[in-house]
């Protein structure tokens, strides 16, 4: 079974340009999350999709960031225009929606390899 994949693995752009990151979750995983780690800081939650719906976007830093998940499969995260402080590693994760009969409410999040974004 394929894991979470992310594209590109690296992206170097200039300040003011636009970049789009893509995440393909594990097949069948309705939950999709975006996280990022900026240099020297902790890995921080950005937002969460269930299928195509945004459930929680409380971690999105500002309106220069736009995430979409059309059709409930892969997701894109667009940064427009990019600023220097956007540099970091952007991780995507996916998990299954847990059946109510399982006795618990969460399932493990599986992470992709990340996209390293450098804004010059």
């Amino acid at each position: 079974e394929a894991g979470v994949t992310q594209f590109p693995s690296h992206s170097v752009i200039e300040k003011g340009q636009t970049v789009t990151l893509r995440c393909d979750p594990i097949s069948g995983h309705d939950n999709l999350y975006w996280y990022r780690r900026v240099m020297g800081k902790e890995i921080k939650f950005l937002l969460h999709f269930v299928k195509e719906s945004k459930q929680d976007e409380s971690g999105m830093p500002n309106n220069r960031f736009l995430a979409e998940r059309t059709g409930g499969t892969y997701s894109t995260l667009k940064v427009q225009p990019a600023e220097l402080e956007d540099s970091g590693v952007y991780f995507c994760a996916s998990s299954q929606v847990v059946p109510p009969t399982s006795g618990r409410v969460v399932d493990t999040q599986y992470f992709g390899p990340g996209t390293r974004l450098t804004v010059l």
Partner: protein, 115 residues
């Protein structure tokens, strides 16, 4: 607010020595706890997780962790470290809200292994 602390930013151990990485969390309810590892150039890999039940959990690559509610800790251990264990280790807590969790990460501990 939920938080995770990893007191050790960097640890160096000799190959074959035992290892313990510390993790403390702050959370108002029973947490869901995870340890992830990131090797150089790789993504985040799940080592182990604690949802409920036995407080000593076994993971991959010979790692184990023990949940101690009284100490709000979830320390990671390995009896004998291999050179390939050199990586960055992240403790994380899953915040349960309705039917999903937002994972909150600690700052990470970087592990170096001396041959």
């Amino acid at each position: 607010a939920q938080s995770v602390t990893q007191p050790d930013i960097h640890i160096t151990v000799s190959e074959g020595a035992s290892l313990e990485l510390r993790c403390n969390y702050s959370y108002g309810a029973t947490p869901y706890l995870f340890w992830y590892v990131q090797s150089p150039g790789q993504g985040l890999q799940l080592l182990l997780k604690y949802f409920s039940g036995d407080t000593l959990v076994q993971g991959i690559k010979g790692f184990e962790a023990e949940f101690k509610r009284s100490q709000s800790s979830f320390n990671l251990r390995k009896p004998s470290v291999h050179w390939s264990d050199a990586a960055e280790y992240f403790c994380a807590v899953g915040r349960v809200k309705t039917s999903y969790d937002k994972v909150i990460f600690g700052p990470g501990t970087s592990l170096s292994v001396i041959p």
